[in-house]
């Protein structure tokens, strides 16, 4: 699944623009807090074509959820400042009125969340919640909406949907709840579906089913999908494009084959090192990135990753600590923001992806395990 275009390079080409559904450019989201300004998203740009899938990966606090919430227009606090552009079908959402964004929400773009239990209202039946979503954007009777709800539940694989439509969320299993969430999100046939960690809270066996469902429905509905996760295994399966975020910035991006096959950023190496692989001995699978994600109030100077990076010496001098690396094309349509030369990147990755690993000394704690909820920036 390769894509010839570079999703990270902005283009004004008319032909390209007509195929583009979502275009994010220089998005910045800042939260004013008592401790200072949190730069949760700091100049991120990317675009997404209709029917395609973009995977955004990164640790907790890297800004991936904040980005998706910004697209949905769900940052409402008066302490939040959003700049840049988010164009959905050519319409800028950042400058649009709140009411306009609300009207688009659920209709042209929809979202599903990590924990389907807490994301569904416990006091309303599943059917009621789907009907509600449908009726906000479609002026139909309750009967019509109910038919739609039953239909959607059936399409997401809920058995006996005509009966289960009246069940309450607590009567559903975890996987069924997420299916119901998906049914609700797709009820208005949105062009864009954002799935924020859609499988994290689910059993492993159910995870694959939900991913399969998303892929199947994507084909059926023709929606573009943004899938946000820290689990590279999830995105590897279904994404066309990958965007790696760190400290509110995009540090690498490109076609999934490129990013997975020849990653250029040491942070991506760390992430990939954490990913279960069949060709490496089980013991060596987890190769955590040392340290913890940086504060988004006082982002490290230069390359924000440099305090945790084991390849600073290869760059030489204190360049990593003083000079901000720009996104640079390291392969066709594949960019990364790192001072290492393309050769250094290629040779290092070649060495790292050898079956026997000799990564630099690591501290305790894996990338996966270091997902500290406290660092999760949410408004």
């Amino acid at each position: 699944m390769t894509d010839p275009t570079n999703p990270l390079v902005m283009t004004d080409s008319v032909s390209l623009a007509s195929r583009l559904l979502l275009q994010v450019s220089d998005l910045r989201v800042q939260f004013a807090t008592d401790d200072g300004v949190v730069k949760a998203v700091d100049g991120v740009s990317f675009s997404l074509e209709r029917g395609r899938t973009l995977g955004i990966v990164g640790e907790s606090g890297s800004g991936k959820s904040v980005t998706s919430m910004a697209i949905m227009g769900l940052h409402s606090g008066k302490n939040t400042t959003i700049t840049g552009q988010i164009r959905l079908d050519g319409e800028d959402l950042v400058s649009a009125s709140r009411e306009r964004v609300r009207a688009l929400r659920g209709a042209k773009m929809a979202m599903i969340f990590q924990d389907p239990l807490t994301s569904l209202h416990p006091y309303y039946s599943v059917g009621h919640q789907i009907m509600e979503a449908y009726r906000v954007h479609n002026k139909v009777t309750k009967q019509v909406a109910r038919k739609r709800a039953v239909d959607m539940l059936g399409r997401v694989g809920i058995p006996n949907p005509a009966v289960r439509v009246d069940d309450y969320p607590h009567q559903f299993s975890g996987g069924m709840r997420q299916r119901a969430m998906i049914a609700m999100a797709l009820s208005c046939d949105p062009g864009l579906l954002i799935a924020d960690e859609p499988t994290t809270a689910l059993d492993v066996t159910v995870q694959a089913q939900i991913l399969d469902l998303i892929v199947d429905l994507q084909d059926e509905f023709g929606s573009a999908v943004i899938i946000i996760t820290h689990d590279l295994g999830v995105v590897a399966e279904i994404s066309d494009q990958i965007l790696v975020m760190y400290a509110g910035r995009a540090v690498e991006g490109g076609p999934a084959t490129g990013v997975f096959g020849q990653p250029g950023h040491p942070y991506a190496w760390g992430l990939l090192g954490s990913m279960p692989r069949l060709d490496i001995d089980r013991v060596d699978r987890l190769k955590p990135i040392p340290g913890t994600p940086p504060s988004l109030i006082n982002v490290p100077s230069g390359c924000p990753f440099h305090p945790r990076c084991g390849y600073r010496d290869e760059v030489g001098g204190d360049r990593c600590a003083t000079e901000v690396p720009l996104l640079r094309e390291i392969a066709p349509a594949h960019v990364a923001a790192c001072h290492l030369t393309s050769d250094q990147q290629r040779s290092t990755w070649a060495r790292l992806s050898e079956p026997v690993s000799d990564l630099p000394e690591t501290k305790a704690g894996s990338l996966l395990a270091s997902s500290d909820p406290a660092n999760e920036v949410q408004s």
Binding site: M72, L74, S76, R102, A103, L104, R105, G106, A107, A110, M111, F113, D115, T118, S119, L120, H121, P122, Y123, S125, Q129, E132, A133, V136, H137, Y168, H170, M181, M184, A185
Partner: protein, 336 residues
């Protein structure tokens, strides 16, 4: 559901029995342990300068010379089966629930409580409507505009409302609105059947005074509940669906935030129905609260027992209704 109610009612009866035993023991057993004899107890109910013969007659009339378990048995019997009673030339039957006859006036207790009940119900229900509407809406607005001037002001007033005692706010409101600017002159209870307008007019000050205290409490509770609820994931889902903010707040936020408040509301209302003592005293309303005060001041055991039992009954019933209501609201709560 039926079994649930039956089970709860059986528990309630048991609870009421325990309450009656405790009340009985406090009134009779503890003074007896402290050395008071039947004559000293009876002397309270006879006029000044009682002759020993008069005290003896009172001891016999009240049955104070009988062993305590026998006295308690008589009380229970009257409550369940009624009793025959003579306080004059003829014997009258006191049907159950017979709470006995006042030690002081020799009049049946139950009809007096029944006649005091409408006053307390009028007061409690009216105030409850006011405080529920006022407290909840202020709490919601405060939560939605957290940190605003409105929020700070209303929470400041709420703090005052919670802190100020009713006999203070009540007297101030009487002084201002009944005497200084006589909007509500001559406040005294009028039966709703006699004159509904006057009934309502004369209850405005007590309602507002009582509601002020509770509204303050409920505003704070609602605010805290709303702040918590509005951070829930399902609120984010509701917004992500594109629901209008009003629906998000009312249908998704408020409904969840109100559930615990409803529980407290049920208990508060149950307590109040047993007598709003301070409000009734301040506004001279002849309800159960005033009846309670008089019963205690007069050391009138059957009356004390009556109001304690009635208050306990209301609390038990309110508790049960809250549980049933809770199940209706929250589908996760199952009643089996």
């Amino acid at each position: 559901m039926i079994t649930f109610i039956i089970r709860r009612l059986i528990t309630a009866v048991f609870l009421l029995l325990v309450v009656s035993v405790i009340t009985f023991a406090i009134f009779f057993l503890i003074p007896r342990l402290a050395g008071q004899n039947a004559n000293e107890l009876a002397a309270q109910y006879v006029g000044r300068n009682p002759t020993p013969a008069a005290i003896q007659q009172m001891v016999e009339r009240l049955g104070l010379d009988q062993p305590l378990p026998v006295q308690y048995w008589h009380f229970l019997k009257g409550l369940v089966a009624g009793e025959n009673y003579s306080a004059g030339p003829s014997v009258t039957y006191c049907p159950p629930p017979c709470f006995g006859y006042s030690f002081r006036s020799q009049l049946a207790v139950w009809p007096q409580m029944v006649s005091a009940l409408p006053v307390t119900v009028s007061l409690a229900l009216g105030a409850a409507i006011l405080w529920l509407l006022g407290g909840v809406s202020i709490g919601v607005l405060s939560a939605l505009r957290r940190g605003s001037i409105f929020d700070r002001f209303s929470m400041g007033v709420a703090l005052a409302g919670v802190s100020l005692p009713i006999f203070f706010t009540g007297l101030i409101s009487l002084e201002l609105f009944s005497y200084k600017w006589p909007l509500f002159p001559n406040v005294q209870y009028v039966n709703i059947a006699v004159n509904p307008l006057l009934w309502a007019r004369n209850l405005v000050l007590p309602w507002v005074t009582l509601a002020f205290l509770y509204a303050a409490l409920y505003a704070r509770l609602t605010r805290a509940g709303m702040l918590e609820t509005m951070n829930e994931d399902y609120i984010r889902t509701a917004r992500a669906k594109g629901l209008r903010e009003r629906s998000v707040v009312v249908k998704h936020g408020l409904r969840a935030a109100l559930t615990p408040i409803l529980t407290i509301f049920g208990m508060d209302l149950g307590l109040l129905l047993g007598g709003a003592i301070l409000t009734e005293s301040t506004f001279s309303l002849p309800g159960l609260g005033q009846f309670t005060v008089l019963a205690i001041q007069n050391q009138d055991f059957p009356e004390i027992m009556g109001v304690v039992m009635l208050a306990a009954f209301f609390i038990v019933i309110a508790n049960m209704l809250v549980d049933i209501l809770y199940a209706a609201i929250d589908p996760r709560v199952r009643i089996s």
